[in-house]
Amino acid sequence: MNHSLRALRALRQSARPAVMAAACGLALTTITAMAPAAAQSMADLARDASTPGNVTTYGMGWGQQRHTPMTQVTPANVKKLSPVWNYSLDNSANASTQPLVIDGMMYIASHSHTMAIDALTGRQKWKTPIELPADINGFLCCGIHSRGLAVLNGVLYRTTIDAHVMAVNMTDGKQMWKVKAADYKQGYSMTHAPLIAGQGDKAVLITGISGGEYGIRGFINGWDLKTGEKKWTRFTTAMPGEPGGDSWKPGMADRGGAPTWLTGTYDPELDLVYWGTGNGAPWNAASRGGDSLYINSVLAIRPGTGEIVWHYQTSPGDPYDYDGTNELVLADLPINGMPTKVVMQASRNGFFYVLDRRNGNLLKADQFAKKVNWASGIDLKTGRPIDTPMTVKVRVTEEMKETVDVWPSAFGGKNWMPMSYDPTRRVAYFNTINQGMTVKYVKQERPGGANWWLGLELAGFPAPEDGNRGSLVAWDVAAGKKLWETNAKSPNWSGVLSTATGLVFTGTPTGQFKAFDSKTGKELWSFQTGSGITGLPIAWEHKGKQYITITSGAATVWAALSGDPELTNVPGGGSVWTFALQP
């Protein structure tokens, strides 16, 4: 995303008083201890995508394009990419975290610790543990994840899997504040990186919530950056009497899901945050009735207040767990000859959406998943899916006698692993999944505790005939077409990074970190790490040299549940790998 110079200047000016206010607000005695290691300002965050040195935001920019302007590593020399260091995360969870890099220091969140590492040597500077209850993992639907951090003015912000939000001093790792967002024993958890957004001194820390399989009521929170005070709560299910309240059966909205479990994006010019919502609870659509607003939606939110400015529901009344939480990437695209500010999503439901991000108008929706049998397309006039007969029946049948085979499965045509977007070529690169699911809908009361509430029997996950359960895709966003597709037996459960020099990096569930030619999809380089890769590659630069970092470590719900036979000999064990060109 390219911001105009005017907007950037305005941000810089507005950020300065914010820093002053922050400093003045601290007690005199604590100023020395809390002095920021580096002065990341809102302007630094706004510049993150265009500056290859530091990585100060989840997504390598507020627009989450995960594209680097770096020039040193190219298709011609990528074979010389070699490991510089490896750092143990000392656990066997999913290493699905995106590090931040600021002035030669790397900051990492795992579910159990927050860490600072010398980015050039891989030596630990500090490591702060997080106390967790012994039963917490039962409340995590899909494995143990902590996906990253936000940073501003010398303070790191993160969530914890037992649904707390905390601020950590970047200099020494000491906790500054910690607040409870929700009660984990009610099924709430948090696995995502927070977002910092807003204008000048009105900037807030924004977090979502997980727990769609446990019958939670989703929400998004705005927090005071300095104190952790809750500034606003935006619930994501509509109660009776509210707009959309009639899209639920009576009594279902207050446990209706719509979790907000991945980090949103931010457009500072429009001052809008884009945040996705997940599945309805239970999955059984007939139990909930209607569209169930705002499940499986894109919400445009005013960061100062939490107000919903517009919404677009990708999967109205969804019965298939097609969360709308996948990353909402911002870009400027020519649409019908007009430069247009868009937000895009490769949805779990198998369609690639392009929306006008000023107003939520649907511009494009094209099938990217190889096999889709729940809808025959998306009606661009109404914005609604065109249901197949199977979906028409599923929507109204609370109790089924026979199973149905649904494509894509609940894992989606693409899951949470974020894409990259090359703004010059206007191409998105993402990892897809090609697998069905066999289900039978049954009525189920909410069990409570650490138990799933789906309202269906999950009987299996049929594989595609060609045995390729996944692929890496290059997608021409304006045209709505695949440029190339590189098949894989197992779907890559890793984020994607693209470079201005024409490389695409991603990781495989069997542990290879790979580079592909962005024009052809041809594999150019591969390195075997110690576990499966569920991490998010980043590129950064220090003292004139460019580096690429990825975390390795997999214990995915895909491997546990999908029946994928390729993953039986992949050990767990998280670690961080950093690579650079060797002479």
């Binding site: 039962g138 143990i144 399989e213 069990p447 029997e457 299996g460 049929p462 214990a555 029946g563």
Partner: protein
């Protein structure tokens, strides 16, 4: 491999999730009474539900499948493969489930009387263990060497 999975799945479809049975006899009685007055008189007396394969299966589906796979079939070496659990080491099973081990959470506070035994019965039924092994009641096993 896929064929095996599907074959297992088809046979198990009718046996899978229903309303979870994680409730006390008193709660079940009250609920049944509310739904149908005819049953209230027979279920009003609180008593621990009898452990059963079916209760174990229903518990497994809502609480265990997500890590240990459908019908114990998991292809992840990061999650324990219950098809390999030793039938003779019930004490280890009970300890792992109630106290947690590695990524396995501690389920002790969540379990109702009879539910742990039901899970053991269910795992035994899928694995084809001799009934004499699986029918032992909890709490009397001889101490065994910790397996992990």
């Amino acid at each position: 491999m896929t064929g095996v999975l599907l074959a297992l799945s088809v046979t198990s479809v009718l046996l899978l999730v229903g309303p979870v049975v994680a409730q006390t006899g008193a709660q079940a009685g009250a609920q049944a009474g509310a739904q149908s007055g005819t049953r209230a008189a027979t279920t009003a007396t609180p008593e621990a539900p009898v452990p059963s394969v079916d209760w174990g299966r229903k518990t497994y589906v809502v609480s265990c499948t997500r890590c240990h796979g459908i019908n114990l079939v998991t292809s992840s070496s990061s999650h324990f493969d219950l098809r390999t659990f030793p039938a003779a080491d019930k004490e280890r099973f009970e300890r792992s489930v109630t106290q947690g081990i590695r990524a396995m959470p501690a389920w002790g506070a969540q379990l109702k009387p009879g539910q742990l035994e039901s899970l053991w019965l269910y795992i035994g039924s899928v694995n084809g263990w001799p009934v004499t092994t699986t029918a032992r009641t909890g709490g009397t096993s001889a101490p065994t060497t910790p397996a992990q």
